[in-house]
């Protein structure tokens, strides 16, 4: 219980300030990775679709409140992203890590879902004049997210 819920939630409280204070420093043309999303995707890949989706829902709520964004937009985007990531879940997380292609596809799909919804739900108008720009933004943000997510391979792992 503590390991599965409490520690991850506490970790989110650490990651959100990093996302809002440090990450803007590494943004390229207003495109930046989302470390909270990276953690949520990893959590879902480890714990499965249902647990991950519920976790992402609460992460989204905390993110919306802490970032002073529109409450609900993060909830929706994180939930949808985690649900997408859930399709790549394997009982043994190392199995996902071993196959870098699966890992990258999982991150790309979930990040695209997240960045698209988070941008679109922030719009005040229901008329989107330049849909292509939203797609490009989500694409570049997802690529940047994958690059940062790949740093997980730098963490030493216990091999048995």
């Amino acid at each position: 219980m503590i390991q599965k819920i409490v520690i991850p939630i506490l970790l989110v409280f650490v990651l959100i300030p990093i996302q809002l204070v440090i990450m803007p420093l590494v943004s390229i043309s207003n495109i930046l990775p989302n470390v909270v999303l990276i953690y949520t995707i990893i959590y879902t890949l480890r714990n499965g679709q249902i647990t991950g989706t519920i976790f992402a829902f609460f992460v989204g709520l905390i993110f919306d409140i802490a970032s002073a964004g529109l409450i609900g937009s993060g909830m929706f985007s994180f939930t949808a992203a985690a649900f997408a990531a859930g399709y790549f879940h394997k009982d043994d997380f190392d199995e996902v890590l071993m196959n870098i292609k699966v890992f990258m596809v999982a991150f790309f799909t979930s990040s695209m879902v997240f960045f698209l919804f988070y941008s679109l739900l922030g719009m005040d108008s229901i008329v989107i004049s330049d849909q292509f720009s939203f797609l490009t933004f989500a694409l570049f943000s997802s690529v940047y997210n994958i690059i940062v997510a790949l740093s997980i391979y730098l963490i030493p792992r216990n091999r048995q």
Partner: protein, 274 residues
């Protein structure tokens, strides 16, 4: 029947869960303008900002001299714009303006505690609050131009809705031809909607805050006209404006202590009070 539903639920419980959570999210999203939700947001961002500021102070260096120079620059930009406006006005208006008391711009430097960089939700938290006499609707700018407006104030922190937020609507004008309009962020550019196609607008025209705005004082620089696109009917156009300020790379900002006209305010023309 019950068994059937149970079987369906068992088979597709992840979809049911997703559907329920997304519906809750959308319901919450529609409640953002409610005062209760605004209050929760106010207290939550203020308590979170303490941690963000702590982290911010450990990574940022002292740049008070630079900040002073930027403040001076911002003041000069505001004055320069005002002078430029005056030069464009006709003699009759100038004569009328002489009766008005010239106001000094009081700028208070602020530090950005955290930034939420998203395509359509540009939000800052700055380290000034009620204790520094900050009020809602005060404009925030830097030495280049307008950045946004204060939308929530707590004891020590304030929330700034930047011009890169689609929720912010600013009354703007093009001083050269005196075209007025409401400018909003569409995710890529600032856009002045529904401008008559026949209006005298050229690429490179300066866009500033309008005298009609009850939130912003007039003549704060916003950006330059980069394009004019007529709509399907051809009668109205949208004018694309490139903002002077790159909101996301801004480091030091200033809050302009501008007091709203109570008379105008009482007319409830203020777009913030939707």
């Amino acid at each position: 029947m019950g068994m059937l539903f149970r079987k369906i639920f068992e088979k597709s419980k992840e979809y049911v869960l997703l559907f329920v959570l997304l519906i809750i999210s959308l319901i919450v999203l529609t409640q953002n303008s409610k005062p209760e939700v605004k209050n929760i947001r106010k207290y939550a961002f203020a308590s979170f900002a303490i941690w963000a500021e702590l982290l911010n102070s450990t990574i940022s260096s002292d740049n008070s001299v630079q900040s002073d120079l930027q403040q001076e620059n911002a003041k000069l930009v505001l004055e320069m714009n005002k002078l430029r406006e005056h030069a464009l006005e006709n003699n009759e208006l100038k004569a009328l303006l002489k009766f008005k008391e010239e106001s000094e711009f009081e700028l208070v430097p602020a530090q950005i505690v955290s930034k939420n960089i998203a395509k359509t939700q540009g939000v800052y938290i700055i380290n000034l609050g009620l204790e520094d006499n900050i009020c809602k609707s005060m404009p925030v700018l830097n030495e280049i131009g307008l950045i946004g407006v204060i939308t929530e104030v707590s004891q020590n922190y304030s929330l700034v809705q930047t011009i890169n937020s689609s929720l912010l609507k600013i009354s703007a004008s093009i001083p050269r031809s005196n075209v007025q309009g409401v400018i909003t962020w569409n995710g890529n550019d600032l856009v002045i909607q529904n401008v008559p196609t026949t209006a005298d607008i050229n690429k490179g025209d300066r866009v500033v805050t309008s005298v009609l705005s009850t939130i912003f004082p007039p003549s704060i620089p916003i950006g330059l006209v980069v394009d004019k696109r007529p709509n399907i009917s051809g009668l109205l156009s949208e004018v694309l404006v490139k903002p002077f300020v790159d909101v996301y790379s801004a480091k030091n900002v200033f809050v302009l202590f501008a007091t709203k006209s109570t008379q105008i305010d009482s007319l409830e023309l203020n777009l913030m009070r939707r």
